[in-house]
Amino acid sequence: MKKQPKAVSLISGGLDSMLATKLILDQGVHVEGINFFTGFCVEGHTHAIRQKDKDKKKRNNALWVAEQLGIKLHIIDVVEPYKEVLINPKHGYGAHLNPCLDCKVFMVRQAYEWIHKHDFDFIITGEVVGQRPMSQRKQIMPVVARESGAETLLVRPLSAKNLPVTKPEAEGWIDREKLHGISGRTRKPQIALAQQYGIDDFAQPAGGCCFLTDRSYSKKLGDLWGHRGHKDYELDDIMLLKVGRHLRPKANFKMIIGREEGENNFMEGYKREFTHMKTVSHAGPLALVDGTLEAGDAQLAARILARFSQGKEEKRVDVVLHHKDTAAEGKVISVEPMREQDVSKDWYV
């Protein structure tokens, strides 16, 4: 009996990878999903942290897609190996710090290694020719196949008819005629296909599924790299860029000031690693200090923090300062809250 072919599908949680997988499942192929966690994935982290978002519906879209398709989903932690992709992207960055082409090559390469390890036959992605300006241009799609090592084992079911024949098509594992020839930025063909399949609930992230495509987030990451003098980072660094107001009043330190209770609670977990401060005479946010406070800086930081407390219009506000790596009780500083007009817009990262 002919062996049932096996494919792994890169599931982002969006519509395209869902449809691409469905097209291959319908051809009798055994498909399992794979989803990579880089640390930059937009998976409701800000919703999970912020109190005001507590009632918003939370779901991991990739898992939800797998449930709808009835396939297994393997979520792979690639935080460490992804650093090299982000720090030294061979093909450079997009509009912000998004290394989209290198990212796609990386993920397909990871999937290629996975199919060898798990005895699968080929890889599916939801890529569409011309859909995205950087990583899905027609002339770029062979680059992904080549540089990932996947070569002809990489199938893009939504755009297959616009691309050269792959091994699974040539070998008869799948029927090319049942694949599609979608191209361009319009979403109409995918929406029509979704309707055909009865799919009416799917994620449509406006800025893609990665924080690195977000201007504000990329600016914070660029600031972090610039002031540390190197691009290396830890998972906690990039998580904290998703939280709070970031103000850099001086080159030697940055303050991360919680915007609401949920963020303050989340930041509480970082108190051991950071010098931190909180208003004690009035209700107010927690602030983490990234960097080193030099002479006079504690006073400056306390005045800024007091500005964001309920004592902002008072003459004096007490702020307790805890230096990291010291078990001693914090030092209380009494300060005059900074006036609104004195909090420079240039300090906001």
Partner: protein, 72 residues
């Protein structure tokens, strides 16, 4: 029962920790997850469903989410 402390981890990290542990354990064993991200209340059951495992307990206690998963 194996216990995994996934406090402070945001989704999908708790799911990844569960998945890593499940790969090393035989069917019938149970894993207790202790988490703080409320997203686990939907993500862990979803992961269990697609992999054929069962959530036998899921409760919120003092801002923590405790789930017990039985491997099938």
């Amino acid at each position: 029962m194996k216990e995994i402390d996934a406090r402070r981890l945001l989704c999908p990290m708790p799911v990844i920790r569960l998945q890593e542990a499940a790969c090393q354990m035989p069917p019938g064993e149970e894993i207790k997850m202790i988490c703080t991200d409320p997203g686990v209340m939907s993500d862990i059951p979803a992961w269990c469903k697609v992999h054929g495992h069962r959530v036998v307990q899921a409760e919120e206690t003092h801002g923590e989410y405790h789930l017990v998963v039985r491997l099938q």
